[in-house]
């Protein structure tokens, strides 16, 4: 059954997928920072309010992933910001997150050398969002 994008259930499912991934576990060994994903509102795409995903990731494990206000996500050590439709493109593998950052389609805040060191982990994190069905508000 499809889960509503960026809902609390979606965040729980993502956490499960991350913790099931041996690739992520190996690639994110040593990671000890929080990551906030800010999903900017796009009312015309039936995503009327910005949301924040706060990811407590530690040493290859997702300790917690929560959906809340964008402001909560902005307090994380690393913050990636993009409008709803961009995140949808990333989750559908239509946009590579690395390319998106180099093109400024996804805006990154945080220590660059650290995030570059964990490129493989961030790619696997993206793959985890594709391993369960998502209900996109502009498609339902």
């Amino acid at each position: 059954m499809a889960i509503k994008a960026f809902s609390a259930e979606w965040a729980d499912q993502l956490k499960d997928e991350v913790n099931k991934s041996s690739v992520y576990k190996a690639a994110a060994k040593g990671w000890k920072w929080t990551v906030g994903l800010v999903v900017e509102a796009e009312p015309d795409k039936h995503f009327p309010e910005a949301r924040g995903l706060v990811m407590d990731l530690f040493d290859g494990e997702a300790r917690d992933i929560k959906v809340g206000a964008a402001a909560d996500a902005q307090k994380c050590d690393f913050v990636i910001t993009a409008p709803y439709s961009r995140w949808k493109q990333v989750a559908k593998l239509e946009l590579d997150a690395t390319k998106g950052m180099l093109q400024g389609k996804l805006k990154l805040k945080g220590d660059l050398p650290t995030i570059v060191r964990y490129t493989k982990a961030s790619q696997e994190l993206t793959m985890c969002t594709t391993r369960f069905q998502t209900e996109w508000p502009d498609e339902s």
């Binding site: 590579d96 180099l102 093109q103 050398p113 490129t119």
Partner: protein, 169 residues
């Protein structure tokens, strides 16, 4: 992140200023190691500039390389059709959007490979490591022509120095 945007003209004038090393010797406060030639640097330019500045500030060995390097390095990302020119001038770097003329080295590769270059480990004698997983990936792309480096042969020492500055390890 300390950042300064310069026009091309201002960047030229900047070359009249003392280098980073000389400035340090004179006790001048260093705030800007990296400048941007365009008033609106591309996301890629800002990312590379930011990455190099963070690396150089955090690692004295990279700082030594940065202070010694004089070169014009082009990086073109083939799958996003965007690039930058990094003009290293003995302790200062100016980042230009796009490819500028008179480049010492030009690297052309896909985004993922460019990121791999910054993930190359540095081994003995300060040489990039090409025998681990990341290094093998980079080497195979070079062999397969998916990573092209114009000006490689006469500038291997410069390329190694750029790689050391660029590497996050």
């Amino acid at each position: 992140m300390a950042r300064r945007k310069l026009t091309a003209e201002a960047a030229k004038n900047e070359s009249l200023l003392p280098s980073g090393e000389r400035a340090r010797e004179r006790g001048v406060e260093e705030r800007h190691l990296v400048a941007y030639a365009s008033k609106e640097p591309s996301a890629f330019a800002e990312m590379l500039g930011g990455l190099i500045e963070a690396n150089v500030r955090a690692h004295p060995d990279k700082r030594k390389d940065f202070d010694a390097l004089i070169a014009r390095v082009g990086i073109w990302v083939t799958d996003i059709d965007e690039g930058v020119t990094l003009v290293f001038d003995a302790g200062r770097l100016t980042v230009y959007n796009g490819l500028e003329p008179r480049r010492t080295i030009t690297i052309r590769a896909e985004a993922e490979t460019v990121m791999s270059l910054s993930n190359l480990k540095i081994g003995i004698l300060g040489l990039p490591v090409y025998y681990d997983e990341v290094g093998r990936g980079v080497a195979s792309k070079l062999v397969l022509g998916r990573l092209k480096i114009d000006g490689l042969l006469p500038n291997i020492a410069t390329l190694n120095r750029v790689t050391r500055i660029f590497s996050v390890h």
